[in-house]
Amino acid sequence: MNKLAAQSKMAGIVLFMMLFLSFSTEIKAQNSDKEQQEQVYVKAEIKGMACPYCAFGMEKKLKEISGVSNVTIELKEGLAYISTLKKQKPSKENIQNIILNAGFTPGKIMYSDTPFVKKEVKKD
């Protein structure tokens, strides 16, 4: 009788853990979707970025933009990708000035609510 009670208790614990994991994964996914919805993605053309050793200065300056946590540089394409919260979205003029101050020439600045497809997948 005691053995049956112990087995029932164990089954209950396992069921609870499964339900908990399932809910937490769902909540996590919902949070991730929410975070993505709150993000704005920026693709910036940077002219003159011809060498890896000088791209470092550009990366540092882009990281100084408020709310930017990750920067990806595509050297061959002359592109930089950043993402930040929508409420901290940097203006085109702000990004252009940052590129100029880093010693390069700004090209097109594009915004998107979804991540851009990158040719070189090399993330910092």
Binding site: A50, C51, P52, Y53, C54, F56, K76, N101, K122, D124
Partner: protein, 257 residues
């Protein structure tokens, strides 16, 4: 393999080149990254007919803006004559300024021209035999050019040095082409080779030296590189005594911030 074949082979490889890191014995017009606020030191071992010389300069540049850089070069020198005792100490201090005169940027390519001014002060001791310093003030006025793209990179610097106390003026010129041995990516792990020519012409008396300088450079990350170059004299005109046999450079650059 004779020297001419070696030159042809190196030039052939450079025509197949893509972009590269900063050149080793030639200056770059890109004042960014490791060429911006980085510290550079290159140990130079010079084997001459009558002495060996070791120079360890530390170069510290500082970017006022992305177009304007100032800095100083502080060399420590050891001279070891074959018929005497070694002498060592800090040699002549140099301060410099670089200003970007022209820039044309494109997608993964750039062409830049800088003006370059250097002033060397006679801070090295001259009372020793041999002397560590030149005892002369020298003013250099020159230009730095570079065309860098994802397929090829070419660098050059040249300039005139005015010297006081009636000593000879000089004209120096350097050319460089780099070859990346690894695919261009960022963040980078780069292995680059360089072929460089380093010339110097003294006017009174007329002497002309040209060195061929193949080099190798390893960039393991964003903030640090290692480089080495072997300089072979290919022209030593009107130098009767104490010719240079060869020079070996081993150096590093480290980005502070």
């Amino acid at each position: 393999m004779n020297q001419n074949k070696l030159i042809i082979l190196l030039v052939f490889f450079t025509t197949m080149s893509r972009a590269q890191g900063p050149p080793i014995t030639t200056q770059t017009p890109v004042m960014l990254g490791l060429e911006g606020n980085g510290i550079r030191t290159v140990g130079k071992f010079i084997s001459k007919e009558k002495a060996t010389v070791y120079v360890q300069p530390i170069g510290i540049p500082y970017n006022i803006t992305s177009k304007f850089q100032i800095g100083g070069i502080f060399p420590y020198k050891v001279v070891n004559p074959k018929n005497g005792g070694a002498v060592s100490g800090f040699a002549d201090l140099t301060i410099f300024a670089k200003y970007q005169l022209y820039k044309k940027d494109g997608k993964a390519k750039t062409f830049r021209i800088l003006a370059n001014v250097k002033q060397t002060f006679p801070t090295g001791k001259t009372a020793t035999m041999p002397a560590i310093g030149s005892g002369l003030s020298q003013t250099y006025v020159g230009f730095i050019l570079g065309k860098i793209s994802s397929k090829a990179g070419f660098y050059s610097d040249f300039g005139y040095t005015l010297t006081n106390k009636g000593a000879t003026d000089s004209f120096s010129y350097n050319f460089s082409v780099g070859i990346p041995l690894l695919e261009q990516k960022y963040p980078q792990k780069q292995l680059n080779t360089f072929l460089e020519f380093n010339g110097n012409y003294l006017f009174d008396p007329n002497t002309h030296t040209v060195f061929l300088s193949p080099g190798l450079q390893w960039i393991p990350g964003r903030r640090f590189l290692l480089e080495t170059s072997f300089q072979i004299p290919i022209v030593q005109e009107n130098i009767a005594v104490n010719k240079t046999n060869y020079m070996v450079l081993i150096g590093t650059r480290f980005l502070m911030n």
